[in-house]
């Protein structure tokens, strides 16, 4: 028979409770997620634009594979970019992620081309001061851009809604 030393309850609880609570919290998180709701998250990304803005490149590819058009205007939730930006294309959202690699990936799909879309994205990158993307989209410079115009246009979409 094991004789257990009579230990003060507060001492015992002080040792066991914090770690046990942490384990419990993790199990609660797991159970919620298994039931379809991830705690402390905004849920799964809803479209390519949200995925691009969040830098979830694998999700961008998944949406592309599912046939989503990166040039289509879609609604994005405020956490993705900012509370003032509600409606963007996937390509525009990718500029906000500030990654030339992601832009290159989207370019490889043929979504950017060499016309108006490239010019508009370049100006957005200029407005957001993402030099890396400006260099990628317009290696010869972007002197035609009117500072602030693209951002203003995108912000206006929210007001027009």
């Amino acid at each position: 028979m094991i004789s257990e030393p009579r230990v003060s309850t507060p001492v015992l609880l002080a040792a066991a409770v914090p770690v046990c609570l942490a384990t419990l919290a993790i199990i609660v998180f797991v159970l919620f997620e298994m039931s379809g709701r991830t705690l402390s998250s905004e849920g799964p990304t809803r479209n390519l634009a949200e995925a691009a803005a969040m830098g979830s490149v694998s999700e961008v590819v998944r949406f592309l594979q599912a046939g989503e058009d990166p040039n289509r205007l879609v609604d994005v939730r405020p956490f993705a970019i900012s509370s003032g930006i509600h409606r963007v294309t996937g390509l525009e959202a990718a500029v906000w992620h500030r990654s030339a690699q992601l832009m290159q990936l989207l370019d490889r799909t043929g979504a950017i081309g060499n016309g108006e879309t490239r010019r508009r994205l370049t100006c957005l990158a200029v407005d957001l001061r993402v030099e890396e993307i400006v260099k990628y989209l317009a290696p010869d410079g972007a002197s035609w851009c009117v500072p602030g115009q693209m951002i203003a246009e995108i912000e206006a979409r929210a007001r027009d809604q």
Binding site: I2, R6, V17, P18, A22, V57, V60, R62
Partner: protein, 476 residues
């Protein structure tokens, strides 16, 4: 408590196993979400699948710098067993390894009382929350060789601390041979067995220990005299020193003439890393941020608090038990602490050429077992008859200790979720990676790439990102 008392499970034993099951479920759920990695996994799978098992093992006996034939055999066997369902098998294997490691932890700690349960809970949080453990679950190659060694280390301790039996001697020798030929840190199996023997454990007999020591000599002869595998050179990879990471050229320039200085630095910082969580991989990052950047985030403070307090508890335990140790009287708990002391010294010694967190993972897991038994002893000093002042101090210390390790355990779960996202993004750029590595996959390699990419991106899509300021309290 007698040996037979320890063998008899109590309700606290069952409660401990139930609690550990919850811990394993939490880790496993997030671990299963991580796809097979690109770096160190895709290339290894292509290499392992391209030859017969025999040829693969034979080639590894003639590799330069490393002698890991059983690691490759391990990869190849799981690859074959998977029947093409790589995601399920390799991730499932990893989860299985975590489960086995946890069971072995409980077998070593043997929680039989409420105080032992509390000590076990903190020890288990330390097992999965310590920084040296991260590399064993956040990465895979696609079998995590370090995790395999951790299991072997705990198995060796379990063999040594059990009742004497001839089969334990045989098992110890086989275990050593398997571990040593899987990864270099497998040599620590011998340290575990010898340390346990010196601390009075007789599960493995004197003859068993002698056989293992002979095998160590055989390994060294095979590696250095017969196969001439050697060790990685100073300029093989970048390494931490002081406040920064030095590139191979810088290492050669600074220590080429006196490598022993660098080697001593690695040994010393490895010991400190396990005991204090600082430095990490030879770099004093937290210290630098504190001294020069004026920006100290919460997680490093938590890490330091947990480790410093935990180490103080271990020192207290040693001080309290010193009279018995000098008289060579060791309890089972003492033996676990003795194994930890031996493993941390040996682990640091074998890290002399290169140190990083995951290499120290064997010392990390024995830190967890030693902490579990030391905390149990500490709790036992808080008897109901103790003074209010003593109870108050003890309660405060234990709340901080337990809370800090709890936070580190939560941190590793956050890291697991983040790693799942990172690995998926890596699969998007797999073609760039393959080109950079100069790998030219054949038709089977290309098919494997497509399958693993589909697994990572479309079949097992990314789960929602966990947001919120609170995340930064637990993880940088």
């Amino acid at each position: 408590m007698t040996e037979s008392d320890l063998d008899r499970p109590t309700r606290w034993t069952w409660l401990s196993y139930a609690y550990a099951t919850l811990v394993v479920v939490g880790v496993s759920y997030l671990l299963l979400d991580i796809p097979i990695q690109v770096s160190d996994s895709y290339g290894n799978l292509v290499a392992a699948s391209g030859r017969t098992l025999g040829a693969l093992v034979y080639d590894q006996f003639h590799a330069r710098g490393f002698l890991r034939p059983f690691l490759w055999a391990h990869i190849r066997i799981v690859y074959d067993l998977s029947g093409g369902d790589y995601y399920t098998w390799f991730r499932g294997w990893h989860v299985g390894q975590v489960s086995v490691l946890t069971i072995l932890f409980l077998r070593l700690v043997k929680p039989r009382t409420a105080t032992a349960f509390a000590g076990m809970a903190i020890g288990l949080a330390a097992l999965i929350g310590i920084h040296t453990f991260e590399g064993t679950i956040l990465e895979a190659f696609p079998i995590n060789a370090y995790m395999t060694i951790l299991i072997c280390c705990y198995l060796a301790a379990d063999l040594a601390l059990g009742r004497p039996a001839w089969w334990r001697d045989v098992a110890a020798a086989v275990l050593f041979a398997f571990a040593a030929l899987s990864v270099e840190s497998g040599l620590l199996i011998a340290v575990v067995l010898v340390a346990a023997y010196l601390a009075g454990a007789r599960g493995v007999s004197r003859w068993g220990i002698a056989a293992v020591v002979l095998l160590v000599a055989g390994y060294l002869a095979l590696r250095f005299a017969v196969l001439d595998v050697g060790t990685p050179s100073l300029s093989e990879r970048s390494s931490g020193f002081g406040f920064s990471v030095l590139e191979p050229d810088d290492l050669e320039r600074r220590f080429g003439q006196h490598p022993s200085v660098f080697y001593l630095y690695n040994v010393g910082t490895s010991i400190l890393s396990v005991l204090l969580s600082e430095p990490r991989a030879g770099v004093w990052g937290t210290t630098y941020n504190f001294l020069y950047r004026d920006e100290l985030s919460i997680p490093p403070v938590i890490n330091l608090t947990a480790s410093v307090l935990g180490t103080l508890v271990l020192i207290w335990y040693g001080w309290r038990r010193r009279a018995d140790w000098f008289a060579r009287r060791f309890t089972r708990d003492d033996q676990l602490v003795a194994i930890f002391v031996a493993v941390i010294l040996a682990n640091a010694a074998v890290s002399y050429t290169y140190t990083k967190d995951v290499i120290l993972s064997p010392a990390g897991i024995f830190y967890a077992t030693a902490l579990a038994v030391a905390v149990k002893s500490l709790i036992e000093t808080g008897a109901v008859t103790a003074s209010y002042a003593r109870i108050a101090v003890l309660t405060t210390v234990l709340v901080v200790l337990s809370g800090a390790w709890a936070a580190r355990a939560i941190g590793i779960h956050i890291a697991l979720r983040a790693t799942g996202a990172v690995v998926r993004n890596e699969w998007v750029y797999i073609d760039d990676w393959v080109a950079r590595q100069g790998i030219v996959p054949d038709a089977a390699g290309l098919a494997l790439k497509r399958q693993l990419q589909a697994d990572a991106i479309s079949k097992h899509p990314m789960r929602p990102i966990v947001l919120g300021e609170w995340v930064q309290w637990f993880r940088d």
